[in-house]
Symmetry: C2
């Protein structure tokens, strides 16, 4: 059945792309994992790059459903929004369900210029950054230059991004395995990260006092 093979290809490709990135993943191994013929990817998707964007769509939908973004911050205020945003990112990174493949895929993409990089960046990544920037601006609450705001947003976002990078890097490393993954109660760790990120913002806010 056609639709079935197409779905199987996406589901088989997702963990492989997330594990090895775009270039290191071969069409052959995806097809093998999906139990499909070597020509299946080109038949169903045209080429490897299109399958890759389908995998993004697939994983992003799953992750967004399991770890939704907080609503806009007009009600809860920017600080609480930032806290919830960060928490949902961290929970997604450290979860071991399918949704966890999404941060993994992002991590791989961030440092590889795949054929679809710009499209993916604009569709899936930039909007989040822009929303966070808005919240950071409102949190600071006074005049701050564009460059300074971009820098601060980058710092804030960098907290979970670099955690993601470190986690992906060491997750399967026997020496580091114990670190976060097998830590039963991840809640206090997440709180510590929140304290760090919000603490950084707080000090910068303080330093901007007139």
């Amino acid at each position: 059945m056609s639709a079935d093979t197409k779905e199987r290809l996406i589901q088989a490709a997702a963990p492989i792309f997330a594990d090895k990135g775009y270039r290191e993943t071969t069409v052959a191994e995806i097809c093998e994992a999906a139990g499909a013929n070597i020509a299946a990817v080109n038949y169903h998707f045209g080429d490897k790059a299109n399958l890759y964007t389908e995998v993004w769509k697939y994983l992003n939908t799953i992750a967004l459903k399991a770890y939704p973004f907080p609503d806009d911050h007009f009600e809860i205020g920017p600080e609480e929004w930032l806290r919830r945003f960060l928490r949902s990112r961290l929970e997604c990174i450290f979860c071991d369900t399918l949704a966890g493949l999404c941060p993994k895929l992002i991590h791989k993409e961030m440092n590889e210029r795949t054929p679809k990089h710009n499209e993916l960046f604009l569709t899936y990544l930039k909007p989040n950054r822009d929303r966070a920037r808005l919240a950071v601006r409102d949190y600071i609450g006074r005049d701050i230059g564009d460059v300074q705001l971009d820098l601060l947003t980058q710092n804030f976002m960098g907290v979970h991004i670099s955690l993601n990078a470190g986690y992906q890097k060491h997750k399967n490393d026997p020496e580091h395995m114990h670190k976060f993954a097998q830590y039963q109660n991840i809640g206090p760790l997440i709180e510590q990260v929140e304290t760090f990120a919000l603490g950084g913002l707080k000090e910068v806010k303080k330093s901007l006092n007139p």
Copy 2:
């Protein structure tokens, strides 16, 4: 002259590897840039991977000389050490001399598993992380679990790492060009980043109060 060609290859390869990473760089283009024959890399270095490690050695030496690490922190104290460490990393990232290629190369390597990854990581990256971890531990100054300390170190290091990633990504992007690069006076920006990173540490320290 032999030694001459060898040097030329390293110097020509450095900016190319730093720009495109290991895999995307072809031996052919390195040789062309160096004005050498296609066989020169294999003749002088054995293979592409060995040339790559030579480039690491070359750029690391240059960067370390221009932006040295602070001395051990028994005299200046851990907070000042962390501040100086961060500052020297940031200055290196934002400089536009040859030394700036080193963070660029690191950035590329971090997310690509080159044949020499483990060796390079252990030689050039891990020692810095371990030194920073020591300083963070002394800064906190009281009992903190291994996992918590690793996490906090990762957060602190992540500040400049993710800044490096963002900077490398957008440096040549016409829309973002203005952000940091053409900013004449980078000092205040660096101070803001320091405030963020040290502020994060400070809050975590505070939250650990008995």
